[in-house]
């Protein structure tokens, strides 16, 4: 558990280069305490962001004795891969499986691991844990500011079919505005100026996103397997300019068969880590993770 009276730690920051199944180099970012971590969080970033957005979040997790891992998704951040392109579902699942296998080997079997997906990262997380090929053990899952099943909610059946068949490479603008992410000017400026940010993706990439959604909204998907019953939480602000929160929570409830927890933090912006609730969210996620390692039978 967290020591309640101690000075701040001298935490480490590392970038581990992983080799994907096809040889692509993927950057796995890590912030960790100097001694052995008591818990670990693996973060799935959204469409636009990458690990470089988390320079204040990572050290705080580490100071809480949590090893905080972030994979720059293929095509994002400093990882290999064409920009504006999300690879096919098999590659997405494989990349995350490689990364999480490495994480589990690194932290050992007895350290609790939470999977934390933000925005579109939550959809990647949901798809991964519902995929039969993913067998890495984890102890908790957090969906943060995520519109689960967004494309299934917004598009009718025929539109989804058209999107699934679309192999176009034209760019689709996600229409992301920094002021919807945060009200803080310096973060807005960072988002606007970030040359690593992904603001648009190819049309065929949207087809991949739809296919990823199918893994967790379609119970009959051939590659699907039921994820383990671990504590699962939906986290968001009180409102979110990008999400239909009610719709996302409905998908969440179905996905976790109404066994999930819902937590709201007092903000109306999308990127909670660039709001006043940042430290509270990190501290909550830290303790939530650490508690999964609590053994009351010792």
């Amino acid at each position: 558990m967290i020591e309640t009276k101690r000075p701040p730690q001298n935490v480490r920051r590392e970038i581990i280069t992983l080799s994907a199944d096809d040889g692509a180099r993927l950057a796995l970012h890590l912030w960790r305490p100097r001694r052995r971590p008591k818990g670990a969080v693996f973060y799935f970033h959204g469409l636009q962001s990458h690990a470089g957005w988390l320079w204040e979040v990572g050290p705080r997790f580490a100071d809480n004795d949590i090893a905080f891992f972030v994979l720059d998704r293929r095509g994002s951040g400093v990882s290999d891969g064409p920009r504006n392109e999300i690879p096919d579902v098999a590659t997405v699942i494989s990349d995350y499986t490689v990364a999480l296998t490495h994480v589990r080997e690194t932290i050992g079997d007895d350290v609790p691991l939470s999977l934390f997906g933000h925005c579109l990262g939550g959809s990647f997380l949901a798809a991964l844990v519902h995929h039969a090929d993913f067998t890495v053990r984890y102890e908790a899952a957090v969906y943060c500011s995520t519109w689960l099943g967004r494309l299934h909610s917004l598009l009718g059946e025929s539109e989804r079919a058209a999107l699934a068949a679309d192999t176009g490479t034209q760019l689709w603008d996600a229409g992301l505005r920094s002021e919807d992410f945060t009200a803080v000017p310096r973060y807005q400026r960072f988002i606007d100026d970030d040359d690593l940010a992904i603001r648009s993706i190819t049309r065929r990439s949207r087809g991949t996103l739809l296919e990823l959604e199918r893994l967790y909204v379609d119970p009959d998907h051939p590659d699907r397997s039921e994820p383990p019953r671990v504590p699962t939480v939906f986290v968001s602000g009180l409102t979110d300019p990008f999400l239909d929160l009610d719709d996302s929570r409905r998908v969440f409830d179905r996905m976790v068969t109404e066994r999930g927890t819902i937590i709201h933090f007092p903000t109306d912006r999308h990127y909670l880590f660039y709001t006043d609730v940042r430290d509270d969210l990190v501290d909550w996620a830290s303790t939530h993770t650490l508690l999964q390692g609590l053994d009351r039978d010792v």
Partner: protein, 562 residues
Amino acid sequence: MGSTQWQKHWRTRRVPFAEECRRAGEAFLVDLKDPATAQRRVLDDVIALCADSLHWKERGHDVLTTAPDAFRDTLPVMRYDDFTEEIDREIRTKGGTLSCSPVLRWLKTSGTTGVPKRVPYTLHWLLKYRIPAMRAMWGVYLEHHPEILAHPYAALDTQTVYEDVDDFLAGVPYQAISNRHPKINARDWNPPWSAAPWFGTAAPSSHSGRMYHRIRHFLGEDLRFVSAINPSTLISLRDLIVEHGEDLVRDLAEGTLEGRPHTDPDPERARRFQAVLDRGEFTLKDVWPSLNTYSSWLSSSAKLYLPRLEAVLPGVSAMPFMSCGTEGVTTIPVDDSLDSQPLAVGQAFFEFVPAETDLGALLDAGERVETLLFDEVEEGRDYHLIMTQANGLYRLWTGDVYHVDRFVDGTPWVHFVHRDGIFHSFTGEKITETQVTRAIERAMTAAGRSVGLYLCGPRWSEPPYYVMVGEISDPGEEQDRLLSEGVDRALQDINIEYASKRTSGRLAPLTFTTVPHGGIAAYVESRRQRGNTTQYKYKPFQQDTDFAADILGDTASTGAHR
């Protein structure tokens, strides 16, 4: 924070701060008695910190984990610019590229090319190096002058400021090292007065505005100690009292600060202060009779300030400031010696190259640079300083030249002599040849001319300024005026420290006097005849301004500053 709250904070921090400083000072003294162990510890720490970084792994430097003694054979000597590409990467990753510590800030300092440097300020460097160095120095101050912590108004610390930051690199604050706002965590620099209104963000960020607040807060108080990095700050303290005396008297009498309610009206204190002002040639000792110590840089060119400091602070004893730059700490005082300090052997891994070696040429040629360790240097000689800091900048040729004064317990005591390739720096502005050349180029281009030979030297005055003489085709007073203004403006644009000192009045405007083509070349040739004719080179930067009289035939045009 109100007066009650900040003084409560002062009282809460007083004893812990003194203890933190005492412990850091003691640890430094232990290092000084066993410098080899301290240097080995730093080296091992740097390797442990950096071996897993992207840069070290990609270049194979991580072999040092198992072969630390190959450090100098494995890593090249670097100039700041050699790190540019990796710094660009580190700005994106915020750690993990050059070292395995989070980058919390980027430190801004004037670069030799006029482009501000970006020095990574990492959590590890903060906790293990920069803060302990500050504490060790203040430990010496407190040991010699415990009255510094006698009460909340005993010390006026201008070394550090808390100012809002408005510049960022990929979201991370980009600021001068002297600005320690915001406090990063509970282990960050936290002197008892850190919550004081004269110290914090409530005070104006302009030099004169902040100084006014400091003076107003301390007027009539039992001030014992005033600390500055640059001696010019101490001089300007008095100058600003002169300039704003009337406002200060009114604020004191009415209990205001710049017209806003501040304290109870104190007409008696205002009357006493007015009496000091009425003396005309008053000193800071007249303003604060209790003042008995000040600290600042007092070596190298800063020594030129000593006579003026003695006039402004008569009978007030001096304590030294550490030799340091944004890139790292080189020496830390252990006593009140003003001429020399021990090498800070626990702060960096230090290497030296005899100053007569043309290090730049060696690096340009890609040749191997043989370096000396701390125990291989000789008393009485000057050396280029190469240091490896635990922020990822390894084997960095600092450009600083140090003189070895003596050895004590095996640790060299050294003092800063000058910047390699840099002529002079009155008060920390570090004007380089490249910067001046660029400033002249800009001004000449604006005037439809091209830059020619010029000479530049420092003129000691109150305040000091730079004297330049340059060749153009049609010299004259109008061109002198235009180019003086243009070069001064361009130099402020290029060098933020020069701009700061100019804005605060610590430097007067430079003068640029035009002479016909050939005028300087003839002068250079005449000098060649006097010295080593083979090796004599045209050097735009001169040690003094004698050249102006020699070239212009009199000192009238440059001697009396407007």
